[in-house]
Structure formats: structure tokens, C-alpha cells
């Protein structure tokens, strides 16, 4: 099995020329420093594997980030091209008995060749409640649909069955057609004669006919018992709450504010910038401190952002579009805010080591400390003869099994920086694997060319560090010879990983899931990388996982864009299929409350029955199956409907 890599598309050179954007030396799109989705040309953005080899989650994150940047530019024009279609008011059908019309599409010869249409017509006409049956050539054509609409009106039809093709493909078109004649979309039932019948068994006419009849009966049973279902729509607060004022939080808040949305930004500590405060250089170039100052200045000056320093979020309630949060500042003053979306950017922390004599000698430092001491001048690289770095300190072990993603780059960055300041210096990097993914591999090669020695160690035979008087003594096994290598460096640098904050309080308060390692868990690892299962809450930065600066920026922009997709709407509409409670039957046992994956149910303690928050209900029906009293009911999929459909089948 060959694990093949990703290469830039050969056609991309051409596209680059047309758009006059620069490519990098490998033929991928060049991006601006610290701007993962900006190309060399203003107003042209890039996402996905066009700019570097990427996986699905990162690609989706970048796609949202690029959309976010475009939205920032176009925010003044938002919504201008939207046209809404007006439908006639829905007919009041409450008093009338169901009058069903069945339209049988022959799909040219496709369906007509698989079943006997004449027999089908006769069968359909004889069914209870059916007032009109017609055979049509192509239901998906506009003029056919217009004729159908005429017949629906003429025969005062209140329920419609279209027996045609893939309901998944054509549902929208057909629903549109019946809404035009004043019927509620739930009063249309689609039967798939093509995908379920003619395509699968063209040679078994008898069995196909039988199945066709059953499919029609199923649809008839469903549609006859169907009540009109209505969309539940509510107002949206056009304001977001961003929790955390580090790189992720600042970026997300700014992205939203640039789009014209109001933002409440809450930072727990007294200072903005988070972990970015301790980063002074980036492997690929760029000045993180300039970035930090610029971000803070822009946030402070932006009229759309209200900054809450030394403030924590102590309570949240509500749902997408209508959250309420209570902020508590350092004087314990409480301030409630109403927001439509929440972004969690609470960050992570550097692992505090206690191994490798870290606490016993000033000669043992972390990568961040080394970086800081080099910048402040406390440490002079020219005075160092030998430096040892140990990788994976606090990462990829039993306690924390994940890779912290940034420490290998940090080691490369600081090795190169030391070599630049003092080319004579000996550097040994003791590692388990060097994770120099993507273009970082180039810096790994550079470091090796400049004489940095990379020596592999095993998890069960970690390097040993001892202090002998003034000297640091490090022993590790040299894997090619199997012998023990003894090094006495002037400085030992530990590449410590990233650990999550204590996220439990926030997670419990907002009912969000954490990973085994204690980071916040996204709704779906590949396809919903910045969403939570709870709609309206989004996630970015180290609160989600260890990641570098550019990756954090992309993720923060993605989260902002996801939030904007809610904030930009006038009203939020939830699905027609939601569950409800028959209060007479409900015994208040709350089994459904625990079965609901969306917290859409709670117990009204005064009444002693469970209540559904329709805006949160996604219509999965878990409550229906668990309710011992038959009190939970899913609109459009009631027990009564299921049973009558089944009776029609068997």
C-alpha cells in the first residue's frame, strides 16, 4: 500500500497567471504572512489544498475562513441579491375531508416500461379518498407542473401524491409547485417509482407492480393522516459573544465586527493576547508581537466591539439566535447580554514540566522561555557551546496521548535562530519523530544542513538528565549504534506541549462535550470542524486542539463565519418535523429529557409535564421511542401514521 502525497495541480500555474497571483516554489498558491487564506493579490483568496497539502477538516476550516474574508469585504452589500418568492396563503383544510390527487409520472418510457400504467391508474382510482388520478409524461417539466396545478385547483384537492422519481432530488421543485396552489408542503407525498422500482428490477413486472401498489398505499396512508406542519421561526439577536481574548478570540471578534455585527468580547484575565504574548518568532517568518499589538489596537478601536476585561461568563441559556449570557466582572457586577451566537475561544496552556530536572536547574528551560530569553538579551547564544532539546515533553505519553503539533516547529525555529546567532553552537534534538508537516519540512532540512543533530529516542527509554555539581549530564541511547550517548550541554531546552484549560465548568454550563483529553469537542471531526452539536455555538483556537498561529487564525475566521451565518439572518426557521408532548399522557418521568441529544426538552415543574423547545428540536424522534406513555409525538411521523402505513404494507 502506497501512502501518496499531495502535489499542486498542474493547471494551477495557468490559473495563477490569469489571476496574477504568486505561487510558491513548489507550485502551490503563495499566501501572505500570518494570513492563511490571503493570496499575494488583494481581494483574491485561497483555501484548501491549493495553498498547501491539507486534510478535510483544515480544508473546510480554510473554506469558511476565505468566505469570512470575502464577507468582510462585501458586508455593505449583504443580502442585496436575495429575492424572496411570495406564495399564496395556505388554504384552510381543517374542516374538510382529505381529497387526494395522484399524479403518475411515466418518466418518458422509463417507468411506463417497468409497470403497467393502465393497471396502476385503475388501482389508484379505486383507493379510498382519491378524487383524481392522472398519468403525466414528465412531472419535472414546468408546463406539466402548471397543468398539474390547474387540476389540483379544479378538483379542490387537499392532499397530493406525486409518483415520479428520486424524492431526494426533486423534492424542492415539487414542494414549490404545491405551495403555489396554497397547499402546505407536508401535504405532498412523493413516491419514487424510478429509483425504488424501474431502475432496480426492470425484468420482474409482476413483483414490480406489487411493490408499486404498496408504495402508493404507503404514500396514501401517510398523506391522508398528515396535518399541515408549519415552520417555527423566531427573531435573531444580531450580536455575538466571544469568550476569550487570545489570538483566536481577537481574530474572531474582529472578523465579526468588520462584517458589521456587534460583539461582546469577554476576557478572563487583565490582559489581551493570551498565549500569543509569549511568542516572538514564527518558523515561516512574520512578527507575532506586531500582530498582537495590531489586533489589540483594532479591537479596542472598533466601535462594534465591547470589551469586557477580567470578566467571566457565569451563566448561559437559550438557543441559536437567542442566547442569554450573564457576565461577571472583577467587582462581581453582573451584566446580562442577549446574543445570537457564541464563540468559544478560551485557549489552552503550556504544559508545566516537572521532569528532566526542570525545577532543579536554571540551565533547564522550555522552548518558550528560551525564545523569550533570546529576545530579551538575558541569554547570549555566543556564550553557549552546546544545547540539547528534548521533544514531546508532556505529549504523546500515557497521560496525554495527543501530539501538541507546535513543539517540533518550535524546536526547529529556535535551533535555526541559535545557529544564526552562533553558527559554532552544537545542537542535539532528542526526538521521537519530527513532525515537520507541510512546508515545515524545508526547515527540518535546513536545520540538518546547518549541523543540528536529530537523535531518535524511544518512549520506554527516554533520555536521562542528571545534575552533577554545576554540570548537566544527559544520557540517551544512540539508535544506530545502540550505545549510550553522554552529552554535557550548557543548556537543556524542553519542548513542552499544550494542555487544555480546565474547561469543565464552561462545558457543563453550556452542555458542551469535551474530548478525553479535556479539549472542547467539535460536532463532527471532519465535516463540522468549528461547530458544536448545539447549534449557534462555535469553537476556535487552543480550546479545540493544539495548533499554530496561522492555523488558529484560519479557525477563528471560520468560527466567525459560521456565527455570521446565524447573525446575518432576520429570522431563524427550524424544521417542520419537530416533536411535541401530549400533556394528558405525559407522566413527567423525564426519560425523553435524557434521550434528547439537543436538550430540546425540559420538565415544567409546575405542570409536572415535559415541554419541547421547538427551536432546538431537530426531529430525530429519540423521545418518541423512549416514552413509555406514548406522550411524545413527532409531527409528520406519528405512531398512528407509522402503524397505518405498516398495516398498508403487510
Amino acid at each position: 500500500m502506497l501512502s501518496v502525497g499531495q502535489t499542486p495541480s498542474p493547471h494551477f500555474i495557468e490559473l495563477g497567471e490569469i489571476l496574477s497571483i504568486e505561487l510558491n516554489k513548489w507550485g502551490f498558491c503563495k499566501t501572505q504572512e500570518l494570513s492563511p487564506v490571503k493570496t499575494s493579490k488583494e481581494g483574491v483568496f485561497v483555501c484548501g489544498s491549493a495553498s498547501a497539502p491539507k486534510d478535510i477538516a483544515d480544508t473546510l476550516v480554510e473554506a469558511s475562513a476565505a468566505a469570512c474574508q470575502v464577507s468582510e469585504l462585501l458586508s455593505s452589500q449583504r443580502g442585496q441579491l436575495i429575492t424572496t418568492k411570495d406564495y399564496p396563503e395556505e388554504l384552510d383544510l381543517s374542516e374538510t375531508e382529505a381529497r387526494v390527487a395522484i399524479f403518475l409520472c411515466t418518466c418518458g418510457e422509463e417507468i411506463a416500461s417497468a409497470i403497467d400504467m393502465e393497471e396502476m391508474l385503475d388501482f389508484a382510482k379505486g383507493l379510498h379518498g382519491v378524487v383524481y388520478v392522472e398519468q403525466t409524461p414528465y412531472l419535472c417539466q414546468k408546463d406539466t407542473l402548471e397543468q398539474v396545478q390547474g387540476k389540483i385547483k379544479e378538483h379542490e384537492v387537499s392532499r397530493v401524491i406525486f409518483a415520479a422519481c428520486s424524492d431526494i432530488t426533486y423534492e424542492k421543485l415539487f414542494i414549490d409547485a404545491i405551495r403555489d396552489v396554497g397547499l402546505n408542503p407536508s401535504l405532498l407525498e412523493l413516491v419514487d417509482f424510478r429509483e425504488q422500482l424501474s431502475s432496480i428490477s426492470p425484468d420482474h413486472k409482476k413483483q414490480a407492480m406489487e411493490k408499486a401498489k404498496t408504495l402508493i398505499t404507503i404514500a396514501l396512508e401517510r398523506v391522508r393522516t398528515q396535518e399541515p406542519l408549519h415552520l417555527i421561526s423566531q427573531n435573531v439577536e444580531h450580536q455575538a459573544l466571544v469568550i476569550g481574548g487570545g489570538l483566536a478570540g481577537l481574530t474572531a471578534a474582529l472578523s465579526l465586527a468588520e462584517q458589521g455585527f456587534e460583539v461582546q468580547l469577554a476576557e478572563r484575565t487583565a490582559e489581551l493576547g493570551g498565549n500569543l504574548r509569549h511568542i516572538f518568532a514564527i518558523l515561516e517568518g512574520g512578527d507575532p508581537q506586531a500582530l498582537r499589538q495590531d489586533l489589540i489596537k483594532r479591537v479596542e478601536e472598533n466601535p462594534h466591539i465591547r470589551l469586557h476585561i477580567e470578566t467571566e461568563v457565569i451563566e448561559t441559556s437559550g438557543y441559536a439566535g437567542n442566547f442569554e449570557a450573564v457576565l461577571k466582572d472583577k467587582d462581581s457586577t453582573l451584566e446580562p447580554v442577549k446574543v445570537g451566537a457564541i464563540i468559544i475561544a478560551t485557549g489552552g496552556e503550556a504544559y508545566e514540566p516537572n521532569e528532566y530536572c526542570y525545577n532543579d536547574s536554571e540551565k533547564v528551560v522550555t522552548q518558550a522561555e528560551l525564545e523569550q530569553q533570546l529576545v530579551s538579551g538575558k541569554l547570549d547564544a555566543k556564550e553557549l557551546g552546546c544545547v540539547v532539546m528534548i521533544q514531546c515533553v508532556g505529549s504523546r505519553d500515557k497521560e496525554r496521548q495527543y501530539c501538541s503539533r507546535v513543539c517540533c516547529s518550535q524546536a526547529l525555529k529556535n535551533s535555526l535562530s541559535l545557529k544564526e546567532r552562533n553558527p559554532e553552537i552544537d545542537i542535539f534534538v532528542l526526538h521521537r519523530d519530527v513532525m515537520s508537516y507541510g512546508f515545515k519540512e524545508e526547515y527540518y532540512s535546513q536545520a540538518r544542513e546547518k549541523g543540528v543533530l536529530f537523535i531518535n529516542y524511544d518512549l520506554d527509554r527516554k533520555p536521562e538528565v542528571a545534575i552533577e555539581g554545576e554540570r548537566l549530564v544527559i544520557q540517551t541511547i544512540e539508535p544506530t549504534t545502540g550505545g549510550v550517548l553522554k552529552i554535557e550541554p550548557d543548556l537543556l531546552v524542553l519542548s513542552t506541549g499544550i494542555v487544555p484549560n480546565d474547561n469543565n465548568v464552561l462545558a457543563q454550563m453550556m452542555d458542551l462535550e469535551l474530548t478525553e483529553d479535556g479539549f472542547f469537542k467539535e460536532a463532527e471531526v471532519k465535516f463540522r470542524p468549528v461547530d458544536f452539536v448545539t447549534n449557534g455555538i462555535f469553537l476556535c483556537g487552543l480550546a479545540h486542539s493544539p495548533r499554530g498561529i496561522t492555523e488558529t487564525i484560519a479557525q477563528a475566521q471560520a468560527a466567525a463565519q459560521r456565527a455570521a451565518s446565524i447573525l446575518s439572518r432576520e429570522r431563524l426557521e427550524s424544521g417542520r418535523v419537530v416533536s411535541e408532548v401530549n400533556e394528558r399522557r405525559c407522566s413527567g418521568c423525564e426519560l425523553c429529557v435524557s434521550a434528547c441529544p439537543y436538550n430540546a426538552r425540559f420538565k415544567d415543574t409546575d405542570k409536572g409535564v415535559v415541554v419541547v423547545i421547538e427551536a432546538l428540536c431537530q426531529g430525530c424522534g429519540a423521545c418518541v421511542a423512549i416514552c413509555p406513555s406514548g406522550a411524545a409525538k413527532l409531527r409528520g411521523f406519528t405512531d398512528k401514521q407509522v402503524f397505518s402505513v405498516m398495516d398498508a404494507v403487510i
Binding site: S166, E195, Q207
Partner: protein, 150 residues
């Protein structure tokens, strides 16, 4: 002799009636895909759409079996892929419990199939239906039909 032949013929012609309780997000879409790709499979399944396998009340399955269905297929998303977070696990648990009592009730637990078929697995859907039809043909009709008719 003639009687025997007739009986044999009847047995050959037995077409099991399968109730398919298919999750809208995976198996039902897989059935659609099987159709659009023109994958051939028997017509015996009667697809009934559900929002999620998690809404399949065991009573639905009992209702189908008592009503004379020769088989019940519950189509669910693969473990960890549920559109509604955990509905397929809920279904798995309920089905396991249900199966443990079916035989006691005089019903046959191997007439109930819980299948993980994703929206992309049109072929797997077709194969599963074909296999189920095959197995049910070997088993013969649901004996409850005979019971009701006497």
C-alpha cells in the same frame, strides 16, 4: 404427485414481504443511490422512511411481525456517524433487548435485521436486501400468518 409439484411451485414462488424502516439520512438515501446507479436487487422491500433509527420504537417491529411481515430491516447510520449524534446506538440497544424476547413470544428473532448502511453505500443496500430475501426464502413465510388464518 401433482399436489407435491404444486406445493413445490408454491414454495418456489414464496416472495418474502420485508418492512424496511429506513433512516432518512443514510439507508433511505442509499436506496435512492442504488436506484440512480441502476443496481439490481429484489423488489421485496417496502421502504418506510424514518427520521432516525433512534425513533424506531420496538413496538413498530412487533407490529410488523405480528401483522405478518416476513422480515423487518432497520437501516441505520454506521456507529459514530448518526446524523442525530447517538440515535443508532439507542436503536442498537433497543433492538438487542427486543431480539432477546422475541423467541419467548413465539416470534423469530432472525427475521429482524439491523443494518448499518451509509448514504454512500447503494451497493451494500442492494446486497443486503438480496441477502435478506435469500435467507427469508430459506426460512419460509412468517408462521404467524398461518396462525391468524386458523
Amino acid at each position: 404427485m401433482q399436489e407435491q409439484q404444486e406445493q413445490q411451485q408454491q414454495e418456489e414462488e414464496f416472495e418474502p414481504n420485508i418492512v424496511g424502516l429506513l433512516c432518512h439520512w443514510c439507508t433511505y438515501t442509499a436506496a435512492d443511490l442504488a436506484g440512480t446507479t441502476r443496481t439490481q436487487y429484489p423488489t421485496n422491500i417496502r421502504p418506510i422512511q424514518t427520521m432516525c433509527s433512534g425513533m424506531v420504537d420496538p413496538v413498530y417491529v412487533l407490529w410488523a411481525l405480528l401483522g405478518g411481515a416476513d422480515g423487518v430491516m432497520i437501516g441505520a447510520c454506521h456507529p459514530a456517524d448518526c446524523h442525530y449524534v447517538s440515535g443508532n446506538y439507542k436503536c442498537r440497544r433497543k433492538t438487542a433487548v427486543l431480539k432477546s424476547i422475541l423467541n419467548t413470544l413465539g416470534l423469530e428473532d432472525d427475521r429482524v435485521w439491523l443494518c448499518w448502511i451509509s448514504a454512500a453505500e447503494g451497493q451494500k443496500f442492494a446486497d443486503t436486501v438480496a441477502k435478506m430475501v435469500d435467507e427469508l426464502k430459506k426460512k419460509g413465510p412468517n408462521p404467524i400468518n398461518e396462525y391468524w388464518s386458523t
